[in-house]
Amino acid sequence: MNTQDLAYVRTKFEPARPAPMSNLGLVVWLRRHLFATVGDTVLTLLGIAFLVWALPNLYNFLIGDAVFAAENGDACRAANVGACWAYVWARLDFFLYGFFPADPYWKEQAGLFAEFMAQWRVNLVFFIGLALVVPLLWPSAPFKVVNAALFFIVYPVVVFYLLAGGAFGLEKVPTEKWGGLTITLIIGLVGIVTSLPLGILLALGRQSRLPAIKYLSTGFIELWRAVPLITVLFMASVMLPLFMPSGVTIDKLLSALVGIALFNSAYMAEVVRGGLQALPRGQYEAASSLGLNYWKSMFFIILPQALKHVIPGIVNTFIALFKDTSLVSIIGIFDLLKTVQSSTADLDWTAPTQAITGYIFAAAVFWIFCFSMSRYSIFMENRLHTGHKR
């Protein structure tokens, strides 16, 4: 086309073509992302140098020089050994179940199956939980309502009777004997499942037009957010019993559960409130103008959108909550971290790398759960994405 001409009529249509090679391919990707400028190149080379130095050391410690199987700590005490996985393996029962008593019959039997059955009550709790959680989180799995009812209503009752016993011929096990990953998961799950609905109610309360509800919610949120969780736990376990009439004891685990749930619901409330405020007023008005009352507008219109906006914040709170469960050790509850920590004093396995191996194990377990939550939230965000905004 002649650039001098103002009038122009296209006579031939340009067909669509595949993108040029410079948009694609590994070499292009490398050049664009790792070697685009001199600075980038230097950083890339430094990064590679660091990996070359660190990876072999890491490999040697975790795998190459590590002790995987041993009867006792002798092998781990040898010079220059890496991680003492044999110790984690030997104490795994303690890390998973704490002091939960083993089944007297199966304890005496040999073999992996017997070992599994020795803690069949806790293991059953794990497996039922898994069997209910997976389909619940799987968006296209059927029977969501039944599934949810089973998980949120039936499952807690089943867990209680399986663990606490005292009925159906099960030996009674006081909560002091529960421990390890079991208790970490119980506290984490109860915290997560209760703090979200409580947080939503508090967030709605804080936005309420009724002054009583508004100020009560605000006061509650500000109070709990302003105290450290450790204080809350101490108060729950030490102070609360002082106010109780003599003879009445409050279960330590229960008070920790309540404390953690309320504490996190305050955080959750603020996250949810952020989502509520981000919604344009038009959404509230459209819902009202269609005749939806307050609760229906909230349930069908406002909350689904507000919660979707703040999924990252919600999951952030969940992850923080899950990691904070390890604070219950200060009131004498044997959660996963506490069992690991106390087992490092185990004389049979005393070795230079004993403690570090234990903590790596604990960290890895926490990481698996938290990372799964994070990935799941990203999956949900993408799934709930309904086209570009206008």
């Binding site: 819902a287 269609l290 959108q305």
Partner: protein, 268 residues
């Protein structure tokens, strides 16, 4: 809006108008000595307005004159402080039951559509009938498809609002209101957020609605539309109704100085 829509030879439109007769006896909305304040600001002053069943009223006026506030008072998105508003025989007071009842009978279309972005077009249309009226789902969907056909976008039913053009979204918003089977429809500048070529598709739907006898209150500066369907044009300024008249007389022979000034501004 170009001047030629105001030329008097609009015979075909005249024919359409004969289909649209307003009731002489049945009152749809009655507003008596109504006042409203936002804090200290007296936003609506001494509003008196009677709308008969089947009547189409276009409300015009400069920005900030209280047009939106007035129609939002009719379904109580805003609360008035003095006087009476009676909609379909129900007086709007603090009584929440009355408010809910009125909102069920009054549909509203907003300038920015306000569709629910997390629901499909069909779900947008069926939510209120199902959960407010208790209509069975299958029936609500049938009604919704009927109205989506009325606004000429049945094929978009399973898309999300974010995937539609502005004009399509506004037509969905109209269909969504119609699904509640309202007796009265309120429109707050339904076309002013739209590109010119989309304005017509929305106005066409509204004209069709008027021909079907819907009672309509439309805040709009679309003077062609006003001439074509309105029984009355109301001009507001500074929170008051300054002038009202039949469209023909309103446009060709405005009485009040403010109206003349306003018309001279928007017609050029």
């Amino acid at each position: 809006m170009s001047n030629d829509t105001l030329t008097p030879d609009a015979a075909p439109q005249k024919n359409d108008r004969t289909k649209m007769v307003a009731s002489e006896t049945e009152v749809a909305i009655e507003i008596v000595d109504m006042h409203k304040w936002f804090g200290d600001f007296h936003v609506l002053r001494d509003i008196n307005l009677k709308v008969m069943k089947g009547e189409r009223i276009v409300i015009a006026g400069p920005s900030g004159s209280g047009k939106s506030t007035l129609i939002r008072c009719i379904n109580r998105l805003e609360e008035h402080q003095e006087g009476q508003i009676i909609v379909d025989g129900i007086e709007l007071t603090g009584d929440l039951k009355a408010v809910d009842e009125v909102r069920r009978e009054v549909g509203m279309v907003f300038q920015h559509f306000n569709l629910f972005p997390h629901l499909t077009i069909l779900q947008n249309c069926t939510l209120a009938p199902i959960w407010v009226r208790g209509t069975p789902k299958a029936e609500a969907e049938k009604t919704a498809m009927h109205y989506l056909e009325t606004v000429k976008i049945p094929e978009q039913a399973n898309k999300f609002p974010g995937q539609l053009s502005g004009g399509q979204q506004q037509r969905v918003a109209i269909a969504r209101s119609l699904c509640m089977n309202p007796k009265i429809m309120l429109f707050d500048e339904p076309t002013s957020a739209l590109d010119p070529e989309m304005i017509k598709e929305v106005l066409d739907v509204m004209v069709k609605l008027a021909e079907d006898g819907m009672t309509m209150l439309v805040v709009s500066h679309e003077m062609g539309f006003a001439r074509q369907v309105a029984n009355r044009v109301i001009f507001m300024d500074q929170g008051q109704i300054v002038e009202q008249n039949e469209p023909e007389k309103f446009f060709h022979n405005p009485q009040h100085e403010r109206t003349k000034l306003f018309l001279s501004q928007i017609l050029h």
